[in-house]
């Protein structure tokens, strides 16, 4: 079964066409990257798949569940990380993780496993006992990523997962994303501006601009299709054509 099936998806905000009749499929167990410049329609697409907003027309399904008519079923199997995400500043990191975990955990043991996972993913250690209001931007982002992955969702929708992280932590997070895909069968749909990250992480990518998909395939296929030596060149060439 495909993890995501998007067909003729369109989203219009009054007069602005944010997503323009796009189609793509994400296979179960792969890392799929939606790549494009600012305002290209990446975040709108991810928000539709996360059930936050409704498409103007077309359809989007997550593991066979329609994101509009079966939103509750979709929410139960996804984990969404927005590009700009914050935590409740008056709660400690651990309280935040426990609150999130309690909504998904089957039992207490499952909840403890989630919190342990999050501690490892975030690398925050004793700082998890502090209020999140005292965290730096990077620490908050690590907390957010650990929340998204500790749930071991069927589909993790990650909007710019490593934005705001230093090189060390960004590398750590990329390895963990690979680990969760390999060990726990998590499918990942992400957006990113970082071409190195995309090349390292993604099995399949779609280059999107002005709401339309301009190129689709493995990073190697996309590079080959435009005669580029690296993904950054490929991106620039595709965007100029688009």
């Amino acid at each position: 079964m495909n993890a995501v099936e998007v067909s003729k998806l369109r989203k219009v905000y009054s007069t602005i066409v944010a997503v323009d009749d796009i189609d793509f499929v994400v296979r179960e167990g792969e890392v799929f990257g939606l790549i494009g410049p600012n305002g290209s329609g990446k975040t709108t697409t991810l928000r539709i798949l996360a059930t936050l907003i409704r498409p103007t027309s077309g359809s989007a399904k997550v593991f066979g569940h329609d994101v509009v008519s079966e939103a509750e079923e979709v929410k139960a199997i996804i984990s969404y990380l927005p590009e700009e995400a914050g935590a409740y500043k008056n709660l400690t990191g651990e309280e935040y993780l426990r609150f999130m975990g309690a909504l998904y955990a089957r039992d207490r043991q499952d909840l403890e496993r989630m919190v342990d996972d999050a501690e490892e993913i975030s690398g925050l250690g004793e700082r998890l006992k502090d209020k999140t209001g005292t965290y730096s931007q990077g620490m908050k982002r690590r907390l957010m990523i650990s929340r998204a992955l500790m749930l071991r969702p069927k589909l993790a929708i990650l909007d710019e997962p490593t934005s705001g992280l230093d090189v060390v932590h960004a590398t750590h997070v990329r390895r963990l994303i690979h680990k969760y895909v390999r060990d726990f069968g998590v499918t990942v749909l992400l957006s990113s501006h970082n071409m190195l990250e995309v090349d390292y992480l993604c099995d399949t990518i779609a280059l999107i601009n002005r709401g339309r998909i301009l190129a689709f395939g493995t990073p190697a296929e996309v590079k080959r299709s435009v005669g580029a030596t690296n993904l950054e060149d490929a991106f620039m060439k595709v965007m100029q054509v688009g």
């Binding site: 059930t51 936050l52 907003i53 409704r54 139960a76 969404y80 995400a85 709660l91 309690a102 209020k131």
Partner: protein, 432 residues
């Protein structure tokens, strides 16, 4: 599902109560502020009482006659009053001497005082009272001097009556009528004056609506903050993708806000009760009879229902509006606007008497659903349940309507996309 809802409510309460602005501003400050105010009143009252206990006046006799000696003897006969007799001098020197003696006032007996008194003419006494701090203590001490001189006036009246008509009882002539007041409340005869009971009931029936009003305003602010803070802290998007229905998220926020508002209300009422108890000493006799005219249990049941529904309505309304706010400041600003039309009619009912308003104004006031709890709170000692029962039905309809509206707004995209700044200029947004 119940445990998921409980998790949401616990998180709401925990997040709100850990917010220093809410913990201090809405719970700890009311809990401490009113008792501190009460304490201040008590300390001031005791200070005034103790300073009055040892009254001290200076008297300068410029008359030197028999009657001026009678006056000085009269002053000296007053218990706990120190009378310092100054040697005749000019007024300026006498004032300085009086001040050195720490006297409250200087009383001057002018020349001709005894001659006038003996011949039955009006007499005059001159007083000079220094005001330094313009405080309550000075005012009370000046009043003490006035009371001393008034009582001397009564003494003079009795003297005149006894001199002119020895056959009459001077005390009877001065106070020929004695009135024994009784008040009838709910068919019970209470040996208290109507004014005493009115004073007590006005204060008590004012406190209950005041407490209700405070709870409503606090709950609205908290509910609006609970929504707006999700936008401001950028937690809303994740919250809406959790495996919980949006209605449950809304309900948990309503319940969480109400719990915090209730804590705030309890803190305020406890504090206010202590404060008021420090003032109610003046009720005297009426306070002893308060239990005899306390409201029936059904009154509290209806009032509880009205307060609960009013809170549900107020918090739902606050959330509907807060959804459109960009941040916490915007949400609180719009609640400020919203509170005004709620408070104004409620204040009119609290201060005035509903029955005394014109029928048209009564209809207008009672068309506002928030006024019922206030109107009924005032009925505590009257025993009429009608307005409370009507209010339960009327507010229920409003609450259902607004809750429905809130759930519709909450399940729409507006909750994510609406970003009104309510009167403040928005910074131009950077396009992603």
């Amino acid at each position: 599902m119940a445990s998921v809802f409980k998790t949401l409510v616990v998180k709401e309460v925990r997040d709100l109560i850990k917010d220093p602005k809410i913990l201090f501003g809405m719970i700890l400050v009311p809990l401490m502020m009113y008792p501190v105010m009460g304490l201040a009143v008590n300390v001031s009252t005791e200070a005034v009482t103790s300073s009055m206990g040892g009254g001290n006046i200076a008297v300068m006799d410029l008359d030197g006659g028999n009657f001026s000696k009678v006056a000085i003897a009269y002053f000296r006969s007053i218990p706990n009053l120190t009378v310092n007799v100054l040697a005749p001098a000019d007024i300026g020197s006498a004032i300085v001497s009086s001040s050195n003696l720490n006297a409250t006032s200087l009383v001057v007996i002018p020349p001709g005082f005894s001659a006038n008194a003996t011949s039955g003419n009006p007499v005059t006494l001159l007083t000079y009272t220094p005001l330094k701090t313009f405080g309550v203590t000075e005012e009370a001490r000046a009043r003490l001097t006035s009371q001393i001189l008034n009582s001397f006036g009564s003494f003079l009246t009795e003297y005149y009556i006894r001199t002119a008509a020895p056959q009459l009882n001077a005390s009877v002539v001065m106070r020929p009528l004695s009135v024994v007041d009784s008040s009838i409340v709910n068919g019970k005869i209470l040996p208290i004056s109507p004014s005493s009971i009115s004073n007590m009931i006005f204060t008590q029936s004012f406190m209950m609506p005041l407490a209700v009003m405070m709870v409503v305003i606090i709950a609205m602010q908290i509910a609006a903050t609970a929504i707006a803070v999700e936008k401001e802290q950028k937690t809303l998007e994740i919250l809406l993708t959790l495996p919980v229905s949006r209605f449950n998220i809304l309900a948990s926020k309503l319940l969480g806000s109400t719990v915090i508002a209730a804590l705030g209300a309890v803190a305020s009422v406890v504090g206010l009760t202590y404060y008021m108890s420090s003032l109610t000493k003046s009720f005297g006799e009426a306070a002893n009879y308060s239990l005899n005219i306390s409201p029936p249990p059904t009154y509290y049941v209806i009032l509880g229902g009205l307060i609960f529904l009013t809170l549900a309505l107020a918090t739902s309304l606050a959330m509907v509006v807060a959804v459109f706010a960009e941040d916490v400041r915007g949400a609180q600003a719009v609640i400020g606007y919203l509170v005004f039309p709620i408070i104004l009619p409620s204040l009119m009912i609290m201060i005035g008497d509903l029955q005394s308003f014109s029928p048209a104004l009564q209809v207008v006031l009672l068309s506002v659903p928030f006024t019922y709890a206030f109107a009924f709170a005032k009925m505590a000692f009257v025993g009429d349940m009608t307005i409370g029962l009507v209010g339960l039905g009327y507010i229920s309809l409003w609450t259902i309507g607004i809750l429905y509206l809130a759930s519709r707004v909450f399940s729409s995209e507006k909750i994510l996309t609406a970003k009104f700044s309510f009167g403040r200029k928005r910074k131009p947004a950077m396009r992603d």
